[in-house]
Amino acid sequence: MIESILTHLAPAWAIAHAAPLLVVAPLVVATALVFVPSGRLAWLISILTTGASLFFALILLALVQADTVTLAALADAGIQTNMLREGVVSYAIGGWAPPVGIEFRIDALNAMILLLVTFIGTLASVFSWPTVNAEIRTEKQNLFYGAYLVCFAGLAGVAITGDAFNLFVFLEISSISTYVLVALGAGRDRRALPAAFNYLVMGTIGATFYVIGVGFLFAATGTLNMADYTALLPELVGNRTVQAGFAFIIIGLGLKAAMWPLHQWLPNAYAYAPSFVTTFLAATATKVALYALIRFLFTVFSPAYTFETASFDWLIAPLAIAAMVACSFQAVFQTDVRRTLAYSSVAQVGYMLLGVSLASVFGVSAGLLHLMNHALMKGGLFMAMAGIVLTYQGTTLRDFAGLGRSAPWTMTAFAICALSLIGVPLTAGFQSKLMLLQATFTAGWWWASGVIVFSSVLAVIYMGRILEAVFFKAPENPRKVRKEAPLLLLIPLWVLALANLWIGLDASFPYDLARNAAEAVIGVGGQQ
């Protein structure tokens, strides 16, 4: 079905240059937004830009999934596809061949992440206007959208590039714009400023660690291209420089991915950023960092190296477990719903890392499936949250009392996403948690499956508290009239809620994506 994009929809130039266009288009548009006079126009432009990126991401996915017949048909039609081999698109920027120039390299794993980022980016752009208009001062709105597009381009760039240093550049592009976006929450809550500052310091530590690690690898191998690392590193496994590089990189990226206990920038940043920023970041930022981590763990390095196996067993898996328990507990005790959701996000990162640390196709695809599902549910939850902030201005549990009667459509979608987060059958969360459970069973990690169940019980408690307040408590302020979030917000919200239900019923589409992605990266890294 998705092949029809290649054969019918996309023009030849789009197929040939989808990879750079996906990143460059939002970057260029972002600079142009400085000259756009009104926020509303900037909003429309950013919808178009993110939508175009989504289109390019679909083309890339179609290329990665295309079989030889389709590819041959494209070649016959004279369309350049940049296929390195079946399943891998490689694009040399500026025509400089990869080891020297920068290479964009897309396989099933980044195709999936790109689709996720651009899809969420587009949905978030659509819903953003009412809340941005309410929370950002008029003269800053076009700049806000500019910063948003820079951040979007940065995240897409991290996911698309095949060059380790270029990945750092994109990481910084996205991070720096994120600091700005978070700080703009100061219009609503002054605590956004310290939150952004803390995020800046910690994010910089993470990025620095990463670039130091890349420096070590460069010193040892003399290249920055990831595919070259795959080829060269097996020779250098015993090399202390490489090992130090490995340690720096996983800690640096782990910080960006909010790996417990390096998550402490996250709750405040999510809680005080403008609602729209929180929605977008929660569904994409940590996911992209996690992608980079997976990329390094499985293709640059390899689970065949004993030092990596040791880090899986003694560092990543224990930290994942700790995140699932500790942050779920912290989520239980929060009084601010946004902070509850933020802590829950860290706990969910634990689930994904647990799947990754199994280092099997089953485990990694379970982690990736949860990554996608979590983007859908957390995106939905924060979107509903944005609607509540917009209409009722409250984010604490007490403000949520009785909202089920005041804003039934918003809160029903919220409830669907909440049930999905808990992992109730017939929702997306159930599918991925079940798969994760099976993966831990298969690996013989019984204790881990116990923790998954326990953490899910905690999720029942912390989401249950919110749902109880929403649906069963009388509002504290009886003047709360019946008022829904604007339609512009409700539609993307329900798209996400229904996506959760749909995946709950039939997970084959994301399951296949995750499975292909896991199969594309596992076993790629050097064998010993």
Partner: protein, 582 residues
């Protein structure tokens, strides 16, 4: 569209119709749907290719076969669909959304389970039959029906849980979910599945739920219930445990013991429930023998039995509907006011007693011949005794006490037309299947549908020997009834409670629950206090760590995290350096 008709499990159509039916308030529209759905199902079944996986699904790494028709389940599915049609017609006089919808969903679940090609699909619909059918009992609205339905549900769910546990074992052991015969009962998986099937098929000592619940169901409910659950278990048993010797004895015992209960029971619908048990015994025994002839017998018997048992339940239901009672002691002489119902009841009675020219004869002959042919003399004698018993309690007792016997003086209207129509159709099937072959009808039609048609076609039920044996048996049984009646030795029809083995769990279970309740009432508060104290301590401790003011959230944020980062980096490096490279 053709592809859909050929590859969709007809049970899904029925389940869907049932669920939709729950929400259609217009009686005629809903009931039209209920009549059309089984007809569509029958048409779909005739279009299906046999012995192919017609619909498969891949869920969470498991390969499911949603629709598979072969010579064994074809005849069961056909009988289920016909029964669903008859039930729908029989229910036309009333306006009950819940009953109509649930009856159809229940029938659909049974059909879907019959055509399931793997264990997991079977399990899902196995449970659905339990959950949907309980409403048919609950709907009777009496207190007794409420408790019976809860007991029924508990036992059916237990069967489902046992099945699931068995499936898990099987899957762990073999890695496949395909429905195929077990080789022995030694492995725990096979034993658990066997018990699950045993509960649904109402094996001796696992049978009480049946007599407990069916007589308490609604008029329509009892008819619906009689067709599906036990026969689904028979089909599953034939699929998974053919030729298991133990089944011969289970079946034989099953045919014999209900005879005694049925003869002394006063509630005529309960008599039918016991007789149901006895009939299923014949099928189980045949499955235990396991030869092609015997399996033919089980399948043919199941088909014939579904129709004539439904017919008998329908006639008793009609009596209950008109007079308000089904107790032998309160009935009698109804042939004057309900002549058609009486005739239909007699046809059903003749069929179940296996009079030649009725469906029971051509079906039961197969089983009897197979058991005799394999040389199981004791089992054969038990079945023979049970055959006489069937005539005694179902063939004579039911029509005699309801429609003849001493006149109760009740003068009621004839049953509603739709009931008569359903009974008429069932009667027609009973007779048509029982006749010698003519123009593609008669028993030859039934034999062609059996699992081993080539074996069945060589079998001639209407030999002098068969007819003679059967007539001797029947005549002697009639004679015995007449003599016992004449000399006043036949157990009189009088109200009373019969103690069956379910007394044990009903009485003891209730007693235990009572005792446990008392103990809990005393010990509960003390334990709650202690537990509460401990829980409070634990909660305080957790809160002190995790709450926003807790230990985890204190201290300078940035500095704290920088330290954490450095510590983790150190750890990662140590790990990297210390692991020995090979």
């Amino acid at each position: 569209m053709t592809a859909l008709i050929e590859t969709l499990n007809p049970g899904f159509v029925l389940v869907l119709a049932g669920i939709v039916g729950l929400f259609i308030p217009m009686q005629r529209v809903r009931q039209g749907l209920m009549v059309i759905a089984p007809l569509v199902g029958i048409y779909m079944l005739t279009q299906a290719n046999q012995s192919m996986e017609l619909a498969t699904a891949h869920v969470l790494g498991l390969d499911l076969v949603l629709y598979r028709v072969d010579s064994l389940n074809f005849i069961f599915g056909l009988a289920f669909l016909i029964a669903a049609l008859l039930n729908a017609i029989y229910a036309l006089h009333g306006d009950d959304k819940l009953q109509d919808g649930m009856a159809m969903a229940y029938a659909g679940a049974a059909v879907a389970a019959a055509f399931a090609g793997d264990f997991l699909t079977l399990f899902v619909f196995w449970e659905l039959t339990a959950v949907s059918s309980v409403f048919l009992i609950l709907r009777a609205g009496t207190r007794a029906a409420y408790f019976a339905s809860m007991r029924y549900l508990a036992i059916q769910i237990l069967s489902g849980v046992l099945l699931l546990a068995g499936i898990t074992y099987v899957y762990q052991a073999s890695g496949a979910l395909t429905l195929q015969a077990f080789t022995s009962l030694d492995e725990p998986g096979a034993l658990l599945v066997f018990l699950a099937v045993g509960i649904k098929a109402a094996f001796p000592f696992l049978h009480n739920w049946l007599q407990d619940s069916y007589p308490k169901a609604t008029v329509v409910g009892a008819v619906v219930l009689s067709a599906f659950t036990t026969k689904l278990a028979v089909l599953t048993c034939a699929r998974l445990f053919p030729g298991f010797d133990i089944l011969i004895w289970i079946g034989a015992v099953m045919t014999v013991f209900p005879v005694f209960f049925a003869v002394i029971e006063n509630d005529l619908r309960k008599v039918l429930a016991y007789s149901l048990n006895n009939q299923v015994g014949f099928m189980i025994c045949a499955i235990g023998v396991g030869t092609p002839l015997a399996l033919n017998g089980a399948a043919a018997h199941a088909f014939a039995h579904i129709i004539y048992k439904a017919l008998l339940f329908m006639s008793m239901g009609a009596v209950l509907y008109r007079t308000g009672t089904a107790k032998a002691s309160e009935l009698g002489g109804l042939y004057k006011s309900m002549p058609f119902t009486a005739v239909f009841c007699l046809i059903g009675a003749a069929s179940i007693s296996a009079f030649p020219l009725f469906s029971g004869f051509v079906a039961k002959s197969l089983t009897m011949s197979a058991v005799a042919h394999e040389g199981y003399v004791v089992a054969w004698l038990m079945l023979l005794f049970a055959s006489a018993g069937v005539l005694e309690h179902s063939g004579i007792k039911i029509p005699y006490f309801a429609f003849f016997g001493h006149d109760s003086g009740k003068r009621v209207k004839e049953a509603p037309f739709n009931m008569l129509l359903a009974m008429g159709l069932a009667s027609a099937i009973c007779i048509l299947v029982g006749l010698p072959s003519f123009f593609g009808l008669g028993y030859g039609w039934l034999y062609n549908l059996l699992p081993y048609p080539e074996v069945a076609n060589h079998y001639e039920p209407f030999t002098l020997g068969h007819i003679l044996t059967q007539m001797q048996l029947l005549m002697l049984a009639v004679l015995a009834f007449i003599l016992l009646k004449r000399f006043g030795l036949y157990p009189p029809e009088k109200p009373g409670t019969i103690l069956d083995t379910d007394w044990a769990y009903r009485r003891l279970g209730f007693g235990f629950a009572n005792w446990a309740g008392t103990v809990w009432g005393k010990a509960g508060p003390a334990m709650t206090r202690v537990a509460g104290l401990l829980a409070q301590r634990g909660y305080d401790r957790i809160e002190a760590v995790f709450s926003p003011r807790g230990q985890l959230s204190r201290g300078p944020l940035t500095g704290g995290m920088a330290i954490w980062t450095a510590a983790l980096l150190g750890m990662a490096m140590l790990l990297s350096f210390l692991t020995v490279q090979h």
